[in-house]
Structures are given as structure tokens and as C-alpha cells.
Amino acid sequence: MRGYVFLLTLLSLSLTATTALHGQEGIVAIKAGKVLTLSGAPVTNGVVLIENGKIADIGTGIAIPEGASVIDASKSVVMPGLVDASAVPAVRGDLNEQSSEITPSFRMSSAIDPQSKVLKRAVQTGLTTLYISPGRRNLIGGLGVVVKPAGKTAAEMIIKDDAALAIAMGSSSTVGNRTPRYQPPTSFYYRRPTTRMAVAWMLRKSFFDARQYAASHEKEDPDMEILSAALKGEIPIRVTVRRAIDIRTALRIADEYEFPLVMVGCVEGYKVAEEIAEKRAPVVLGPFYYHARDRGRYYEGREVNWNNAGILVKAGVKVALASNAESQSDDLLTVATVAVRHGMPRDEALKAITLTPAEILGVADRVGSLEKGKDADILILSGDPLVPTSRIERVLVNGKTVYQVD
């Protein structure tokens, strides 16, 4: 009996090995019942042709070349891999260098752990592109990175380094900082900011300093280099805000220093939807908890409003749905389903987990939709993606199968 099992395992192993090898070298063709390209109209009974990890062609009536390995998904739905614009971090160690408050040159790419279990789960939930952000303990946390959950080393995974500068407003960055009282200020946590006033001031001061630096001829300070590049718009600025008041402050400071910003979190975004739309700031919503009351730690963000996405979209805001680094809400298909239930248009919801986050992250030339020339990051589902009973059957990253149900 044991020998039988062993043989079977060996057989299945060799089978997967051969298909993987085959796909790597040659051409892969997916026969799809339905293709949701997201950039154009859906294609019924079409073929997706993959060459060298890129999409070579999509459509009906495409001849499948000889020697191509064929994936039969004729009863399934094919769509682009999901993009999480603020993913659960697949890193080792602390998400912030906590010894100081402003750390623009802190690079998340140096902390990526290719063996992280987070990546495995990401693939199983359909994620093929992840933005990994520095934590929220520091006011200016550092630089985030866009990765794919496939590759042996960090370098293989990264598709865009220095993808955005992370700023945390509201009480996120004040938590843990203390004012000196009853004892000498020996810990490095005795520091600003401890209030919203100081959060706003320290941001203004940092940008002010960056402007001064840019105007001078010094070229030595790596932190200032990054801040001034961000002010010039070379690195996008992502601000984590939850309350309406912090959203307003963020928009005001962005106005004062004339930089475009992406807003992350935005739990109370629906209260100031029109102001956000006017400033054309894209929004990365999340996390969406199913049991918000349990989130004592995130006191500020407990008021999770599922209508938020729908209201913001109606006001004309570009909305992406993300897990925002919370593993409880990293099943983006379900998040999108519930957002549709609460007023988000279906097309917008599908884009909000694929093309829109790709655009916000600046990687839409490679991922986010199924188009000729883009990376072959593909989901194959047993049914419509926004139906809870649909199951992810297969996930391809760069044309290679990285997950498959038996």
C-alpha cells in the first residue's frame, strides 16, 4: 500500500515537472470559456497565447501553434491576476526602523523574504502582484516595493523598486511615542509626534527642508534626495489616512507643497468624497474586516463602512480595493464581491482589484489586464469572479503555473 502511494506521488511529481519545463520553454495556449480582459470587452470561447512569459495574443479563432502546451479552460473564466496595492508584507523583521521618526531611505526591498508563507497564501487567493509598504509606526516610513509572488530571490520577484514613499498620518505614527514625564527622556520613543498638530508640522518641515535641499547644491543626504524626488513627482507619495480630518489635512499639505498623492486606508473617505475627487487623488481602500469590532488595536479604523467604495466611485474617485497589510482581509475577490453588494459598480469593482491598483502603482504597462505584450499573470476560475462559489483553479505568473487545484 505504502509503495503504491509512493509511486503515485512520484508520478504526479514528474508530471508537474514536465509541464512546468514545457511551459517555460515553449508556448502556452489557454483555451478559455470566457476571457475578462478588463481593458476591453470580454471574449467568449477564446484563446490566450503566451510566449516567453508574455501575452502574445488574445481572441477567438487564433490558431494554436504546434508543440504548444495547452491548458483546457473551456468551461472556466480567465482573468488577469489580482493586484494588491497594499499587501500583507512578505518580509522578515520589523516593518519600520523605529529608532527615528523620519526614515525616507528605508527600503522595503531589502527586507523581502522569498520563502515567506505570506506569498503562498497570496497566490492561493489569486494575487499575482503585491505592493509591500513600510509600516505605519513612522511618520515617513520609507520606500515600498512592487513584487510578484514567484522567484527564488528578491531580485527575481521585484518588478518595481522605490515604488512609493510611505507616510502615515493620524494616530498611526503617534502611537507609541511618549512625552517625557516623571523620568529622564532616555528612550528613543520620547519624541514627536504625539499629536495631529505635530504630525502635520513634521510633514511640512520635512518637505520644507527637502525644497531647501533641492535648491542648494548639496548632494549627499540620501533622505533628502528621496524627499525632494518625491516632491518633484518622481516617486509617488502614499499617505495612510483614516479619519476625514486627516484626509483634509493630507489634501491641504499636498496643495501647499504641490505634490500628487495616493491615499491609503480612507475609512472615512465617504465623508469627504467630493473633496478627494476634486483633488484627483486616487484611493487605496482597506482593510475590510468582517469582524471590525475585534480590531481593538485599530481603534481609528474600526468604523468600516462597506458603502465607502461605492460612494467614492460615484463621486469620481479612482478606487482600488486592497487588504492594507491585514491578513484577515487579503481575499480580494471576496472584498470586491461585498463592495459590489454595497453599491460599487461591477466593472469598477473588478478593475479595483486589477487594473486600477496597477495604474496607481505605476506598473500598468506590465500587469493589471490581459493585453498583448503584458505579463502573462493569469487567473483561471471555475465561474464568475464575483460569485462566492467560484473557485480559483489555476494561477499563472509570467506564464508559469504557480498554483493549481487537483
Binding site: T179, Q183, T195, R252, Y299
Partner: protein, 390 residues
Amino acid sequence: MKRTLLLIVVLLLLVLCRWPWAADCPQPLAIKAGKIWTVTNGVIENGVIVITNGKIDAVGKNPCVPEGAKILEMPDTNVMPGLIDGHCHLGLALDILAEIEETVSAVTAEMQILDAFNPAADDVKKALRSGVTTVLLAPGYKNPIAGQTAIVKLCGARTDDWVLRRNAGVKFSLGNEALMSDRRPTSRPGLLTLIREELTRGKNCGGDTFDPRVQILKRVAEGELPVYISVHTVDETVAAMQIVDECALKATLVGAEQGDEVATMIAERNIPVIYAPLLRFSKDKDLKRVVGMAGAGIKIAFASTAPLTDLRDLRTSAIIAAKYGLSPEVALKSLTIHAAEILGIAERVGSIEIGKDADLVILNGSPLELTSRVEMVIVNGTIVYQGEEK
């Protein structure tokens, strides 16, 4: 033929000119009230206030009411201008009250209180219900130079609607709250030295400084930006006046619970006082002190310092002061026009005059009776609170 064409063109022009005006302009409002306390022009019995575009368009016995105006017939009511709170911390207690205290360092002139203000907070709505329509928001008491104040109206959906002054002056604190055991200053002499040092730095800096904190202190030292100095005892009040003398500051005293002891000194310097009686912590007899200060010729406004105290205390303070001898006229002015003058916003609010913002409080009795209740509050011509029907 030509004439008809001309007529059409003229008509078209008229329509074009008129159309955007008609679209932007909300329906005019006329309030017919039993008594109108204009504050600056006495009381009008059975008068009418006409509001267009959020401003007061006409006041009087029988002004011309525009066609199509919405008319509120309230013959039994008293109308007064919206109350002005000279010093408070409304909408700043989000998760913790410490939002107003950034105490890591003692001098934080660069902090702006507006960055911490939440216009949708519950205590803001409570304030509106008690008739307060304009407030000075201030940082706390634990820093000698605490930050920049702001003057806001307590209503309006968008930021531009409710901000009257983004930087209305700098808050100083000379009370013992500003002392700490583990950062400078720890003593009263240290506190005064620190403030003098900072003001000197501001005064002596050249025009080309890049440090925003020094820039603010420079504007303070040059008398361009007003300062609001929080003091409690006699010695603090005197120390404040010494600093004002030395540095020629444009100052207002806040608190000044014992100000009557040195009332002549304050009056000589023409320094107004925003009196914060802190009713919850003191006896109502303490309001006698306002009478002494007003008698010496000091311009008085009241402060609630809410949410440290209850906001209903604002009108109550004036009423109790009147009970101890403050003339009713001055009591009423201290809640409205005097407060507006002290804060430098009298061209917008503080009285019922043509051209001013239509911020009105409608009560079922005299404003200076404890039994009178606020029935309706109007800010910028919009009804923002309406009490239940009797």
C-alpha cells in the same frame, strides 16, 4: 425686422446675465421676530431681518422683503447675533484629549491647531445647539509657546466654508501647567526666560530666515501676529504684562481669573481679556471679578475652554456676571461684538448689521435670562439647528 432681432439679442443677454446669479443664489430668508437685539444699534421691537446669500441684507421695523423670500413668522422670539467663544478646544478630542498638547519640546510655535480640528465632532454640534457659532480654537496649556490658533465657524461642509482665520495668533501659556519636571522649563523664572529668549530670537533674526518657527516668532515680536497669553494668578498676569511691555506685543489675556486685582494695569495697556471662569471648578461668585475688570475699562469676552468645561457656560457666564453688577449691555456685547473685536473679525460677525454674516440665535426669551432657550441657530443664512416644537 432689425428691431425684433435686437430685442431677441437683448433678451438673450438678459437671460444669460441673470441665469448664473439665479442659480447660485439661494432663496432669501426673512425673519419676523418679536425682539431683535442688534447689539450695536439697540433693540428693535417687532422687526424683520432679511438674509440673502448668507449675509444680512436688511434689518428694521419694516424693511423691503424681496419677492419669493421664505418668511419665518416668530412673533414671540428674541433674535441675537451668534455667540463667540474666545477660547476653546472643541472638536479636538478625537481619541484622547492630548491632541492639544504637543509637549515633547516647550516651544512649538509652528504647530497649527487647525490640523487637529474635526468639524464633525459631537461637541461641535453641542456648541451650535447652545448658540455658539464662531470660536477661537487654541492649543493647550502645557507649552510656554504652544502654537497657532485658528478662528472657525462651527458649520459648513467644506474647509473653505468654515475657516475665518487660519492663523489667528499664537498661544502662550504662563500658568504653572507649562512647567514640567523633566524638560525645560521646570521653574517660573525658567519659563519667563525661555519666552524672552524665543521672542528675542524672533526679533533679531534677519528677513532671510528659513526656519518657519522663527518666522512665526518674528511676526509675533514685530506685533503683526496677536498673542493669546493664558494666565491665572496675579503674578502670572503681571509677568505677562511685563513681557508685553518689553517686546511690544499685540496681546490678549486669556483666563485672567484674578485680573480684577490688577485691572488698572491691564486697562492702561489697552489689553483685552478673554475671561475663562471655569465654572465647574470655581464658585459663581468669582464672576464678580469680571465686573471689576469691566469697570476699569477693559474690553471683556468670555471663553468656555470647552470641552474642559460645559459649553452652556458661555451664555451662563455673562448672565451670572450681570447678576453681580455687569451692565446687561456690556454682558451682551462681551458675548458678541466685543469678542469679535478682540479676535479681529468684527467686520464679519458680532452684531446684526447690514452686510455682516447672517449668524443668528433665536431664543424664546431675553438672551440674558437663564430661563431662555435656544430655539433656532442660523449660520451663514442656513438653519443649522432647530429645536423641537412646543
